[in-house]
Amino acid sequence: MQFDELAEDYDAIINPMQPVEQRYKKKLPVCFGPITDKNVEQVKTLNRSIFPVKYNDKFYNDVQNSGNYTQLAYYSTDILVGAICCRVEKKEDASRLYIMTIGVLAPYRCCGVGTSLLEMCLNLAAEDADIDEAYLHVQTSNTDAINFYKRFGFEVKDKILNYYKRIDPPDCFVLSKQFTRRSQ
């Protein structure tokens, strides 16, 4: 399965559109909400505007079935500014959490929204006994993104050559974060 669309996800957090010194520097207060069959179109609109690719229906089905791991970030209670989209991959003994996209609308970046979304998601995973790992793909050249994920305890686990079709370099790292269980 190809995930070349995912090459763009971290860009969403990092590339500010305006010079940094003119921007709103405070942490943007956001609240979170789930994705449902009622508001999925809003998430599609969000992703269309952030990522240059159109995700297919399977993507949004997976996302809706991911429990609370897919979270939407709202500013001033009803403006959707960002989202983390995940998929839960069930294995025999335990499940893995695959982070498909994290995206924040350009004007609202650099205000901690992406961080809040990822924290929220990882905290939930840490409390979930079924999930033992969270992982994602990132383009090998994207140091900023790799550093961003490392802040949350992700480690480079693997390198896949020619993962992306249309971008250069075409290789990606697999970043992974293991959850250790207290009970074990």
Binding site: Y24, K26, K38, Y75, L80
Partner: protein, 706 residues
């Protein structure tokens, strides 16, 4: 054997009869089958017994066996013309069929046999007030009072009857006599309090303001609705010119609710500032000082911040407007524009508002700060400035600029649903209903759980003559799913009017009439619905509200829903008169206009497929419904008959469309004579009836009045 003898029952049967009638045991508990059984058990021995026959008829009526019911009651009357019970039951039958005139006749017959029967008198007076037969109503009320003068309801009922007939003096006298009968009036119960406030209303309507005020002030300790008391007192003081007292009263009211615009208006009038002064921009200094003081007392009130925008001009206005909008822009309140819309009647203010907002936009773009602020604003502020300006230019008729601004906002944050609605509205104002509907549909799809968005989208679809998708969408939020009757049952008039108008545009007169005349039916129902309030309001003593209801019902045809529907109905009938063949004519499809044959075929093929699919689905649904019918809840429900004329084909085949049109025109003339369209449509109708002289006279007369 004389007839009176056959009408007497022996003790045992009389006891059974009582269970049917006097205690109304089976009737009231809706145990109709048992009631029938009991009646039959008497009739077995005494088949001639009129009153039992009548009660059997009444019971059958409740079981929806109308024809049998009438047969039995008429038979009962044949057997016993002298029984008030038989006549009463006959009246009840007519009443249940809403034939009030016949019902009144029956009740009067019943009263001739038993003139002091309270139950019949009470039933009769309900019908009389319902049909506004006021002379008879007063008389019946008088009799009720004479029979039982100890009952408070009978006193106020008598007073209300005079009030309704416009005889304020008598109404007042009755109320005063009633007060005279009261021994202990120290208890402040709600009913007594309402009676006192009602008396104040009668006095005020008589124009005796001094007396009204005195009455109110004297009654104050017994009035429990303190807010009504304060409001009325303030109003009276103002009318009587006791301005200082009025001001104090309005200040007290403002301390209770500082956002009530009526109180503000009262306060300003008490200070000598009428609406003209406020709107004219004179005496600004005094007004400013009043409002500065008020804002210190009520810092949270929005009205106190908003009202100065009405009277300030020039630089003061600019400064005030500039600071007024800031919290709205930051919080993201899309209703900001409609809040300040009234100011758009003043061209100089429009100019200033534009200046302020454009400057805000420029500064936000360059430094992300609002004008006059040092702190960087959250990234969302610019969005609402763009939204405001889009509305602003839309209001000024500059659609291209409005669209440009709203598109910029949508680029900035495409997930805000309100922006899509604003864009749809801009298209609508520019006359592009198709694009407006597209945009509104985008908004709807972004939140499928939002009924408001659903409703808006349906409305826009109908404006764009997209009736099929509209029908599918509107039912998403109605209870019974795709059952179109549901919207009729909910009296969903905006939908019926928009749908009807759309059909009228597409020259589908039958369908149009079907939906539009439904609106007329709703108004008949609304008038009908007041029936229960005649008893309820008197019992609960909500007399002021009751008088409001009566007056509202008397002028209900003024309502814009009725007027709109009636205008379109008349247009339908005129079109049917001009071109009778159009009743059968098929749809002239706007989508197919100006397309090549091949394209038309393609579209038609698509539609057939879609229709086949829809039919399949609805068949599935029907099967599901069948499953549902077995559930216990559905048991008691009567199954509604299918509409014999679902598409209004029969309605369009009316023989004399102009007569139908005239019916509506005369209602419009009575209730909507202030609208020029009423007279233009009347003219169209009369011209076709070749009553040229009448046309001419009416036209001249009415246009002169307007």
């Amino acid at each position: 054997m004389s007839s009176s003898n056959t009408q007497l029952l022996p003790q045992k049967e009389a006891a059974v009869f009582k269970t049917i009638v006097v205690r109304l045991k089976f009737y009231e508990t809706k145990q109709y089958k048992k009631g029938l059984k009991a009646a039959d058990s008497i009739l077995k021995k005494y088949p001639e017994h009129g009153e039992t026959l009548a009660m059997k008829g009444l019971t059958l009526n409740c079981m929806d066996r109308k024809q049998e019911a009438y047969d039995f009651v008429r038979l009962a009357l044949k057997k016993n013309m002298l029984s008030h019970v038989c006549w009463h039951v006959y009246g009840l039958l007519y009443r249940s069929d809403r034939d009030y005139k016949e019902a009144i006749k029956c009740y009067k017959q019943a009263l001739r046999r038993d003139k002091d029967n309270g139950q019949i008198l009470r039933d009769l007076c309900l019908l009389q007030i319902q049909t506004r037969e006021l002379t008879g109503f007063i008389e019946t009320r008088r009799q009720l009072l004479a029979i039982n003068p100890k009952n408070r309801n009978n006193w106020v009922g008598f007073a209300v009857s005079h009030h309704a007939a416009g005889d304020l003096d008598m109404a007042l006298k009755v109320l005063e006599s009633y007060e005279g009968t009261l021994e202990d009036t120290s208890n402040a119960d709600y009913e007594h309090s309402e009676m006192l406030l009602y008396k104040a209303q009668v006095l005020e309507e008589k124009g005796e303001l001094e007396k009204t005020l005195a009455h109110l002030e004297k009654s104050e300790p017994l009035i429990v609705d303190k807010q009504s008391f304060r409001e009325k007192r303030a109003e009276l003081l103002l009318k009587l010119g006791r301005l200082e007292d009025a001001e104090a009263m309005y200040r007290e009211l403002l301390s209770i609710n500082s956002d009530n615009y009526q109180y503000h208006k009262g306060l300003l009038e008490a200070r000598g500032y009428t609406d003209d002064v406020v709107a004219g921009g004179v005496k600004q200094d005094e007004l400013v000082s009043i409002y500065r003081e008020l804002s210190q007392m009520h810092p949270k009130s929005n009205a106190i911040k908003r009202i100065p925008l009405d009277f300030l001009t020039g630089d003061r206005f600019k400064e005030s407007f500039s600071s007024y909008v800031k919290p709205f822009l930051r919080k993201g309140v899309p209703s900001l524009f409609s809040d300040v819309k009234p100011l758009y009647s003043k061209p100089d203010k429009v100019q200033i508002m534009e200046e302020v907002m454009v400057k805000n936009l420029e500064r936000l773009r360059s430094e992300q700060k609002l004008v006059g602020e040092d702190d960087v604003d959250p990234p969302v502020t610019v969005l609402w400035v763009l939204e405001y300006l889009a509305n602003h230019f839309d209001r000024k008729g500059d659609s291209p600029r409005a669209l440009q601004l709203i598109d910029e906002a949508l680029d900035y944050t495409p997930t805000v649903i309100d922006l899509h609605l604003t864009k749809a509205r801009i298209y609508k104002h520019a006359g592009d209903f198709q694009k407006a509907s597209d945009e509104c549909e985008i908004a709807r799809k972004m939140d499928l759980a939002d009924r408001f968005l659903n409703t808006m989208s349906v409305k826009y679809m109908l404006r764009a003559d997209r009736r099929q998708p509209a029908e599918g969408t509107v039912t998403l939020f109605s209870k019974d799913g795709d059952n179109p009757n549901n919207l009729f049952d909910m009296q969903c008039m905006w939908y019926e009017i928009e749908f009807g108008r759309s059909c009228l545009r597409s020259r589908l007169y039958g369908k149009a009439l079907k939906k539009l005349t439904a609106v007329n039916k709703h108004f008949t129902d609304i008038i009908e619905d007041q029936f229960d309030f005649h008893t309820y309001c008197l019992r609960k003593m909500t007399l002021r509200a009751y008088m409001m209801l009566l007056r509202c019902e008397d002028t209900i045809y003024k309502h814009k829903f009725f007027v709109r529907a009636a205008f379109s109905i008349v247009q339908c009938y005129i079109a049917l008169h001009d071109n009778p063949a159009s009743a059968q004519e098929g749809e002239e499809d706007p989508e197919l206009k100006g397309l090549s044959d091949a394209e038309v075929k393609k579209i038609l093929r698509k539609r057939r497929k879609a229709q086949a699919r829809a039919e399949e689905e609805s068949a599935d649904d029907k099967n599901k419904d069948k499953g549902k019918k077995n559930d216990p809840k559905g048991k008691g429900k009567t199954i509604k008959q299918d509409d014999p004329d679902p598409d209004g084909e029969q309605l369009a085949k009316v023989e004399k469309p102009l007569d139908e049109a005239s019916r509506y025109v005369s209602i419009l003339q009575e209730h909507a004579g202030n609208l020029i369209e009423t007279h233009l449509l009347s003219m169209e109708v009369y011209m076709r009836k070749t009553r040229l002289l009448k046309v001419f006279c009416l036209y001249i007369l009415n246009t002169m009045q307007l």
